[in-house]
């Protein structure tokens, strides 16, 4: 399905696209810049800066979308769409510090658009519910009973995550859905290690409480 698997990240960085516009040569490599600097450079049309921003935020957006959708492929597609939209609109962004919030807003609108589209499609009866479909694995050897159990667990887990307040939800979301480690979570959320630590711990505690409350009931 995804034949673009072949293209690796390193590959891209090595091959400078011919059509690439004049690269703004800056003293600092993008990796070492702060988010704000990257945003402002992106706004000047420097794609490398934006790419760095993508790397720094993509999992957050993905996780966010996945949480809403429950479908990995769709979430990935919408993530891409979100970034395309963001890239097109980066010039209009004003608050460099609120980049993530802005991005999430875009993601949300992309999601809403998507739901509207699929909703229309649903009404037209073209597809079955995507949430049901995406659970069916490609591998037919998997036990259907276990599979249904898994999907049930997933739905419950998603529901759990959704119940959490935003600030606690984001790190956990990144962990479970974004597959991010501690450092990555910090980077994705633009948080310091200390503040993340607290958020994570409290989040987990909340999650545990919810989890057990639910399992009890």
């Amino acid at each position: 399905m995804l034949e673009s698997n072949a293209i690796s990240a390193s590959n891209i960085s090595l091959a400078p696209a011919r059509s690439e516009p004049e690269v703004v040569v800056t003293a600092k490599p993008v990796e070492s810049c702060s988010d704000e600097v990257l945003v402002s450079r992106s706004r000047k049309g420097e794609r490398a800066a934006f790419e760095e921003l993508v790397r720094r935020t993509s999992r957050l957006i993905y996780a966010h979308l996945l949480l809403e959708l429950g479908d990995t492929h769709r979430a990935e597609d919408l993530t891409q769409e979100t970034y395309l939209n963001a890239y097109r609109a980066i010039g209009q962004m004003t608050d460099a510090a609120g980049f993530r919030a802005w991005l999430l807003k875009i993601a949300h609108s992309v999601l809403v658009d998507h739901l509207r589209r699929t909703g229309r499609k649903k009404r037209a009866g073209k597809h079955a519910a995507p949430e049901m479909l995406e659970q069916v694995p490609d591998d037919a050897s998997v036990d259907p009973a276990a599979q249904s159990e898994l999907s049930e667990a997933r739905a419950r887990a998603l529901e759990l995550l959704r119940t959490l307040p935003e600030e606690y939800r984001q790190p956990l979301m990144l962990r479970y859905l974004g597959g991010a480690d501690y450092e990555t979570i910090g980077k994705q959320l633009g948080l310091t290690s200390g503040s993340l630590r607290g958020l994570l711990s409290r989040g987990l505690a909340l999650l545990r409480a919810e989890f057990f409350k639910e399992s009890k009931s």
Binding site: E20, V54, A153, R197, F211
Partner: protein
């Protein structure tokens, strides 16, 4: 303390649970964390619970984490997007697409617009058809065996097979003996080309050339015959096998054998053929063709082929009773045909074996068919069809066979009487062989020939001698003659000649030498029938006579029978006699022609005697009628004349009239005439000679007898006779009454006669008089002078009455009308307009002068209401003599602005002795300026300059009309000053003004309407300004801008219009397509 330490440791632990679970604890922290975990069971439980939760969550979301490639993919997509965006922004792309769509719409609109204007052009179609025709034609003509083609016609048939569309089909037939008028109602347009290549069209519509027809109908060229043209069932019954009948394509080898009159048709042996040749008696060929046809020709009832060919025969399958029909057998169509021949052509879509079969006998000739025709022809009982070419021979033979038979009969019977005649009592005048008749040897004719001729000869007797000689030569005789001698000694007569008919023509020729042939007539009368009838009767009668004689001779039977026979014999003999007489009479007439000659001698109309008579008609004017009457009578009696009537009458108004009618010897006529002329003035004399001849016209041969001259004399006086000449005079007199009296006095003096006179005197000024009188000619001049001296003659006409019986020249008439001079309008009138400085004063001066000159004032008014515009008007008449003085006075009053003098063309009712003036005086101030000078001067102090100009005007004796100065914010000061100065000071003033500043513009114009005079003014219009604008208003940037915008808007509107047209064209389609797509989607969704 422990507790608090414990608590802080708890908090620390709690704080780091997350980091621990995530695996992000530092090494030192990890130690402390583990220590606390072991120490504090509560925390351990909590951690354990959290770990379980974490584990459950991790499990639940296993495999949902994004791969490392997600970032790469996003970045890849971004780069693609970037590349795309760098080329065209989406906005730009959309805009470009919109533009393209608009341009497309516009272009479409343009095309549609063009179409609507020029409609659609179908030129291409025609070209294709013509080419097709040309190609096929070429094919036919290049065939080596083609020479027969020109004889044949083309059949152009549309391939459409719909039989209902018969009207649109067209067939050209071979027109062997085609009479295009006879093509009948087969219901379609027919065109015929005959062997001359002429094209006939059925309805007499415009004749088309083959090319034109082909253009109309060309899809396939087919050669066909008239048979084809007939194949539509005229009866309306549907024929079975005819729909495709026109789809004939003739192979060229068959075509080569074609002759005029042949026809081609399709055959389909699988079906019975029901072609009917009905309705076309001229058709040369009939046929019945089909593999399984029921019968050949023949039969008379029904409408099938077999019923129609031939009439009277029975429907006889197998024997074909048709006209020239063959003895048809079912299988062999070659022996099935009627007269003429037919070229069989297979139909294109026949079955294969059928084609083979028909191919073998595709062509056959008339001769072949003739062999089979014998029986059929004999069986035929009536001829229904007109024989044509091929049948004509038969008919000719028939008629030849019949004719000899017909001839023998009259010959045998007519031969006899000729012989009888030869034996008979008639002289040897063979009636038969007259040159005119020799040609018709076989049928002797009995013809009576007669003639009449009329001659004018010198002498009847010598002509008679000559005639008898010629008659003898031509074995003729003079039958009768009669002549008559006329009073003038000329002879007229007629001679009847009898001559053998064969000599008649020679005789006529010879007789022509007699004299001048006036008239000739030769007649002939055919009595053959009468003659032969009579002969037959005679023969029968003779036979009867012989039998009766035999009966009597044998003496058999009763006496009564014998008596009866005798009696009968008598009757028959009488009959025979009568018939013989008739025969003899005819023989006589036939054997001898009668020629009647009418002769008359030349100059047969010469008169025998002549008389001459003179009539004199005289009219004498004289004062003393009675005396003249007596004198005339006396003179007549002296000259021994005979008075047949005379009278003397007195009428009213002293009018006398006398008339005398008398006869007198011609010798005395002249003296009498002279004597009568001396009596008075001869007003009228009419002498008439008349000669009368007797017994003919022309110059009389004898002496003319002169009869007595007859006089008709009338004597009358002139008292009541109108004068020939009348003077009509209109007089304008100062005092009409005086003139009237003077004229009356002069009439009296001249001894004239006043007929009427009247004097009307209402007011002294309006007196009129009229007079009508007559005076002797001698006194006319004197009276005329008197009349003219009475006043001014306005009109003098002399009218002369027509010179008839009732007018005289001895006296002249006058009709005089006298008018008062003041009542008559003057001939000359002048309209003057005078510009003066002092209107009222001038007016009074002039009015006084008119009165002093004894002029007559008609209108006088002075309008002083408006002091600025005082106008005086004076209309007056004055005598010619005073004109000069008055005009001089007017000249001093002021300037003559306009002077229109009018002389009336009417000379009869106007007088020249006075002149009328219509004079208007007006203020010279109101006079328009003669010259206008417009100046534009640029200077610094406008106000000062304006003041200076006003001062200049005053010094020049002029005035200031207008003066104002305007200033605007920009500091520009503009002054406008208009002044009037006397013309003479104009130039001077202008030059003074020019000196005030820089002259920017000067323009002078003259008003040619205004006359030049003392009071003429020059106007100076000065514009003063302190600066001038650099760019004129009409050449600014805004003008250019406006022009450009206007052009742009025009273009925009034009393209908008085109786009709208295009949209109107595309829009409905888009809507339809959209609806269809929607419907399709919906239905697909339902499915």
């Amino acid at each position: 303390m422990k507790k608090s330490e414990q608590d802080s440791d708890h908090a620390w632990f709690k704080e780091r649970i997350g980091a621990f679970v995530v695996g992000a604890l530092e090494a030192d922290e990890s130690e402390r964390f583990s220590a606390h975990r072991t120490d504090c069971p509560e925390c351990a439980t909590r951690l354990e619970k959290i770990e379980r939760t974490d584990k459950a969550m991790q499990d639940a979301f296993a495999g949902m984490q994004p791969g490392g490639h997600m970032d790469a993919r996003i970045i890849q997509a971004l780069r693609k997007e970037d590349a795309k965006r760098s080329r065209f922004s989406p906005f730009f792309r959309n805009a470009a697409a919109a533009c393209a769509a608009l341009v497309m719409c516009g272009a479409m609109g343009y095309v549609i617009d063009g179409m609507q204007r020029g409609k659609f052009d179908h030129k291409g179609d025609t070209v294709v058809m013509v080419t097709e025709l040309a190609r096929q034609k070429e094919k036919l003509e290049t065939t080596p065996t083609a020479p027969a083609i020109p004889k044949a016609g083309y059949v152009f048939t549309p391939t459409s097979r719909a039989p209902t569309d018969a009207k649109s089909q067209m067939t050209l037939g071979f027109a062997a003996n085609a009479d295009p008028g006879k093509w009948d109602s087969s219901g379609r347009d027919q065109f015929v080309i005959n062997n001359n290549g002429t094209i006939f069209q059925k309805e007499g519509a415009a004749i088309k050339t083959p090319d034109e027809m082909a253009r109309d109908f060309n899809e396939k060229i087919t050669l066909g015959g008239i048979g084809n043209a007939r194949t539509r069932d005229v009866s309306g019954k549907d024929a079975i096998n005819m729909n495709d009948v026109n789809d004939v394509v003739v192979p060229s080898d068959v075509l080569a054998k074609a002759e005029l009159g042949d026809h081609f048709e399709t055959i389909d042996p699988d079906k019975p053929d029901s072609h009917t040749a009905q309705g076309n008696p001229d058709a040369l060929t009939f046929h019945s063709v089909a593999g399984k046809e029921i019968a050949g020709g023949g039969g008379s009832d029904g409408l099938r082929m077999e019923d129609i060919i031939g009439v009277g025969g029975q429907a006889s399958p197998g024997t074909g009773g048709g006209w020239g029909g063959g003895s048809a057998s079912y299988a062999d169509f070659t022996s099935r045909n009627g007269g003429g021949r037919k070229l069989m052509v297979k139909r294109q879509h026949g079955s294969e074996d059928v084609e083979k079969k028909t191919d073998s006998s595709v062509y056959y000739t008339y001769q072949d068919q003739q062999k089979n025709a014998g029986e059929g022809q004999q069986a035929q009982q009536g001829q229904r069809f007109k024989p044509t070419d091929l049948n004509a021979k038969k008919v000719v033979e028939d008629s030849e066979a019949k004719r000899p038979a017909a001839k023998t009969d009259p010959k045998s019977s007519a031969g006899k009487p000729v012989e009888t005649k030869a034996d008979g009592e008639q002289p040897k005048n063979d009636p038969a062989p007259s040159p005119a008749l020799t040609a018709e040897k076989a049928a002797p004719r009995f013809i009576i020939r007669n003639g009449e001729m009329e001659f004018e000869v010198d002498s009847f007797d010598s002509a008679y001698v000559q005639i008898s000689k010629i008659a003898a030569e031509e074995s003729g005789l003079i039958a009768t003659t009669n002549s008559e001698k006329l009073a003038n000694g000329k002879v007229r007569g007629s001679i009847t000649l009898r001559v053998p008919p064969e000599h008649l023509d020679v005789l006529v020729l010879k007789l022509r030498a007699l004299g001048e042939l006036k008239n000739q007539r030769i007649t002939s009368q055919d009595v053959s029938k009468l003659y032969t009838d009579t002969e037959s009767e005679l023969r029968a009668g003779r036979a009867m006579e012989v039998r009766l004689l035999e009966m009597i001779k044998t003496g058999k039977g009763d006496v009564s029978d014998l008596l009866k026979a005798e009696k009968e014999l008598g009757v028959w003999r009488e009959k025979i006699e009568k018939l013989e007489g008739e025969i003899r009479y005819y023989n006589n007439l036939i054997s001898l022609s009668t020629l009647t000659l009418t002769l008359s001698e030349r100059d047969i109309k010469t008169p025998t005697s002549a008389t001459e008579q003179q009539t004199v008609n005289m009219g004498i004017e004289i004062d003393d009628v009675e005396k003249a009457y007596n004198d005339a009578l006396k003179a007549i009696s002296e000259l021994k004349g005979r008075v047949t009537a005379s009278e003397l009458k007195k009428y009213e108004a002293g009018q006398f009239g006398a008339s005398i009618t008398c006869s007198i010897t011609p010798e005395a006529a002249g003296p009498l005439q002279d004597r009568l002329k001396q009596l008075g003035r001869v007003a009228r004399l009419n002498v008439e000679h008349k000669q009368t001849t007797l017994g003919g016209t022309g110059a009389p041969a004898v002496k003319v007898e002169r009869k007595e001259t007859e006089f008709v004399i009338s004597i009358y006086n002139l008292a009541n006779v109108a004068p020939r000449l009348t003077h009509h005079i209109n007089l304008a007199a100062a005092d009409p009454e005086v003139a009237f009296q003077a004229i009356l006095a002069s009439i009296e003096k001249a001894g004239g006669r006043v007929v009427t006179s009247a004097l009307n005197r209402d007011k002294p000024e309006q007196t009129t008089a009229n007079l009508s009188f007559e005076v002797k000619r001698a006194d006319v001049d004197a009276v005329l002078t008197a009349v003219k001296s009475g006043g001014e003659v306005m009109q003098l006409n002399r009218t002369e009455n027509p010179d008839t019986n009732n007018v005289t020249e001895v006296k002249e008439g006058f009709v005089v009308q006298i008018f008062a001079q003041s009542q008559v309008p003057p001939r000359e009138s002048a309209q003057l307009q005078v510009a003066t400085l002092q209107v009222a004063e001038s007016y009074r001066k002039l009015a006084d002068a008119v009165l002093a000159a004894k002029g007559r004032v008609l209108v006088s008014q002075l309008d002083e209401k408006d002091r600025q515009n005082v106008v005086g008007r004076l209309e007056f008449e004055i005598a010619r003599t005073e004109v000069q003085a008055i005009e001089k006075l007017i000249g001093t009053l002021g300037d003559l602005n306009s002077n229109a003098v009018q002389r009336s063309p009417d000379t009869t009712s106007t007088i020249d002795s006075k002149k009328r003036y219509d004079l208007t005086l007006f203020n010279a101030e109101r006079l328009a300026p003669r010259e206008t000078t417009t100046l534009a001067i640029e200077l610094n102090d406008v106000d000062k300059a304006a003041t200076e100009i006003a001062a200049l005007a005053v010094t020049a004796n002029g005035r200031t009309i207008e003066s104002h100065v305007s200033k605007d914010r920009s500091g520009r000061v503009v002054g406008k000053v208009i002044i009037d100065v006397p013309m003479s000071k104009g130039a001077e003033t202008v030059s003074a003004i020019r000196g005030l500043g820089t002259l920017r513009m000067i323009e002078a114009s003259r008003n040619s309407q205004v006359p030049e005079g003392q009071l003429t003014r020059a106007r100076i219009d000065i514009t003063l300004a302190n600066a001038d604008s650099i760019v004129p208003d009409d050449k600014g940037l805004s003008t250019t801008l406006r022009g450009s915008i206007s052009t742009t808007v025009t273009g925009l509107l034009w393209s908008l219009q085109l786009i709208i047209v295009g949209l109107c064209f595309v829009g409905p389609w888009a809507l339809i397509i959209w609806l269809v797509v929607r419907w399709y989607r919906k239905s697909a969704a339902k499915a």
